[in-house]
Symmetry: C2
Amino acid sequence: MTKLWNDPATFTEDLVAGFLDANAEYVVGVPGGVVRATTTRSGKVAVVTGGGSGHYPAFCGTVGPGFADGAVIGNVFTSPSAAEAASVARAAHGDAGVILTTGNYAGDVLNFGLAVQQLRAAGIDARYLAVTDDIASAGPDEHEKRRGIAGDFTVFKIMSAAAEEGYGIDDVYRVGKAANAATRTLGVAFDGCTLPGADQPLFTVPVGRMGVGLGIHGEPGVSEQDQPRADELATLLVEGVLAEVPADAPRRLAVILNGLGRTKYEELFVVWGTAARLLREAGFEIVRPEVGELVTSLDMAGCSLTITWLDEELERLWLAPADTPTFRRGALRPEPVEGQRRDQSASTSSAHVEMVAGDAESQQVATKIADALAAIAEAMAADEEELGRIDAVAGDGDHGRGMVKGSQAASTAAREAVAGGAGAGGTLRAAGEQWAARAGGTSGVLWGAALTAFGARLGDAGRPDGAAVAEAVRASYQALIDLGGAQPGDKTMLDAWLPFTETVEAEIGRGADWPTAWTAGARAATEAAERTAELRPKVGRARPLAERSVGTPDAGAVSFARCVTVVAELYRNG
Amino acid sequence: MTKLWNDPATFTEDLVAGFLDANAEYVVGVPGGVVRATTTRSGKVAVVTGGGSGHYPAFCGTVGPGFADGAVIGNVFTSPSAAEAASVARAAHGDAGVILTTGNYAGDVLNFGLAVQQLRAAGIDARYLAVTDDIASAGPDEHEKRRGIAGDFTVFKIMSAAAEEGYGIDDVYRVGKAANAATRTLGVAFDGCTLPGADQPLFTVPVGRMGVGLGIHGEPGVSEQDQPRADELATLLVEGVLAEVPADAPRRLAVILNGLGRTKYEELFVVWGTAARLLREAGFEIVRPEVGELVTSLDMAGCSLTITWLDEELERLWLAPADTPTFRRGALRPEPVEGQRRDQSASTSSAHVEMVAGDAESQQVATKIADALAAIAEAMAADEEELGRIDAVAGDGDHGRGMVKGSQAASTAAREAVAGGAGAGGTLRAAGEQWAARAGGTSGVLWGAALTAFGARLGDAGRPDGAAVAEAVRASYQALIDLGGAQPGDKTMLDAWLPFTETVEAEIGRGADWPTAWTAGARAATEAAERTAELRPKVGRARPLAERSVGTPDAGAVSFARCVTVVAELYRNG
């Protein structure tokens, strides 16, 4: 289990600081992550990788010539925010566009997708590609729904090499798609990992058993069987990945045998001995295999086998030189020729939110809003462990931490906005921006959008009446729908948010004051959250894990209900 | 714990095969280990590192230009045999001599020391250097008694860079001594590792506690305290290593923050953030730190901080380029310029023992000897776990495995010798050579020497009488003393071997037949082995661990008593 931290709440910030110190020749820090120590040369497409932390060397350990131009670094197992992704992409961007790429997870897809929109709005040509290599997470007919696990490494490496060779952005994207289509991974887990500060692992595997089809965020396997010998495991993995040989597949393979953190090099080499033989017996030629820890999951025990069928272009890019803190290949240039050394002092700059002053009434409302956000932050801190436990049944257990980080950031931002004279709208916008920026993940971007939409409706003048509150609630709900990640019935927070919205509207419509309406809405949200236990998630979960989640409510719906209940209690009591 | 193996008995062979397959561009296998894929260029001193396996990337993961020329690979946590060390050294040697280097452990010192003698006898200029960086294992007044842990990496790297620069053997040895004298390490452990096939870890640390002063063979720490925060741990480690700043120490430091296997990169970076700050605040400048897994101990949880005070020469060598499977630094040559690619087919050759035929009587005796060795092998297989448990109290728990490997190899070799017509002497010599070669470790070299000496006295003609047996027993005992590792009273197998020898001699002297004398000797050995529980080891153990061992008998004495008892039972029953 994770044993070392200064404060679990600042684990990611602290590890990034140490990483930057130890690798100053390769990287500099920027808000949201790291970029190469040298600027991106003119005409070169920038490749920005990312996702949550806890996967080192992925993703910041492979920033450097021949590999990524930058890496966005979220909290452990949590998507970075859209603001963080856009920030790193802006810093990495030269003048030829930027490709953002992550494994295929709902939070990453939402946040990096929003970042691409922001970058395009700022005149930067940006694309997003999600890696979908995990064959255990969805069937071959749903390739696009699969998770990205260790195949991230191969796809990121190949895209980065193409960018280094001078490919235009369309061609970098094309080889990325081609590499992803040619990549398959199957993994197993012997034991789960423990988040910093948690006292139990995200999951456990019974002694002598093995989970098949692991995730790299502490998700358990999708099925379980007796733990095999090393050669039996090699057979299982090779047969698994070769079950989907594409038609007319090339005979040459890039292969990764990836350790998740606690399954050590010696064991991996024992497995590799058999896996390599089986792949050759199946008629394939292995091109520069990688056996080691490339995409980890803290100290999770387990490993995965990734193969990429290599045509001539993919093979050249797979073999191209690279020089990063953890991965080096081929001949290196003794001197950097491709960009200027960055000014490190510039790396600490941070975005600043412009503030509009509210009128006196709106400032009073803003104070109440700040009180409500403080109460929410307190409630989330108390519920963190329970929310993580619910989320870990079928996911990565990060929901509690994300809600704590987001609500605390929102509460602090709201207090600062109030102190600066902001009205209700400005306060909620500041809170929403900080929630999304600091929490990351799926819930972060959703809560950020919801608070911002709520504030936009309230505005910065006057005291809103019941109708305004009902409209603000509806606007928040609509903002979530517009983000496009899910629909009611998909076992997400929307399943609590919709009944809340409809109940508040109905109560206001029949003349109730807003605290009464809100209280009724909170009750409806709580009941609806409990009912999500009967649902099966439709998005963002591996199918077998989706099955497993039946019987457990959705963590996002539960936390939403808790938040609106806290606000109801605050105002019902004056 | 270690989960993946085909057969615990062939774990090392299997991992080496996988390692060679995955890294064929860097290394080829030779009997006993690996060497670079290219031959050593004329005029270049060869540097051969080694020790037991279980420490990857140490030691075979750092074979390549700028680093080691070869690595000897023993069983997990067990010294390779002298024959293996000499074999790898011969393969790595060009024409300018070879330096063998390991951490300072009794088994490595014995076996690599013997290998140096063998190499010199064969006309190869050879030296041996043992690294002694672990400040927890002995006081500053006993620097030469300290264990080698992660400081191995720094010292091996610096020596290797000197050899690559073209230093002569005296100067490579000189900078190795200088680097070792300037290197200090302090480590901590949170939990032990489990040997392949074992069902319990070598040691455990209570939850919330931490062992200070770990070894890298699963040895527990030398003291225990509450588990600190990351910054508190950094303070403990920095203050520990800085407690022994040499007089007029340079202000520039090579620094390694090494993870033992389960303490992951993210945690190491958090610790590094504070450690780097503290070192700078103490007035030191950090030169290219390494934060990661360099010298592991399977999946042991823990980490260590190593610093090396760098003068101008050591700094240049620390920074020199290197290109190995796991460690690369600086600008690399695009093409190998320093040697021819080796013929890989040559790498499977193995030494062959020359056989002398025995006369008919001696062949009958040889059959009995082979039966006795088979019985010993059976007994050691039954006792393996218990012997490992005893050994793990103050050591690395490898004794049972070593006895099993050695006795099985000896038994097989004896059967083959008998089938080939060998007499008693030839059979025991073949058995002794194979025991030493296959078991490695301290006990391997001792048992090998003892069997060989025993056989030399019996010869290959006639049936030995009681006096010959008594003389053979005495010759075996003398062979152990001549190896120079210990004296009776040091809590080693000698404490059982001496009473056995004296009792056999006394019984024969008063006219007993040899089975009766042997039986009496075995009884004396068993009692003496039990009495070793009262002793404190004088050699080969960190001082605090030596204290801990009081109350537990010596595993080598116990296994010796068991072996001679098995032989007594075999012949008493016909």
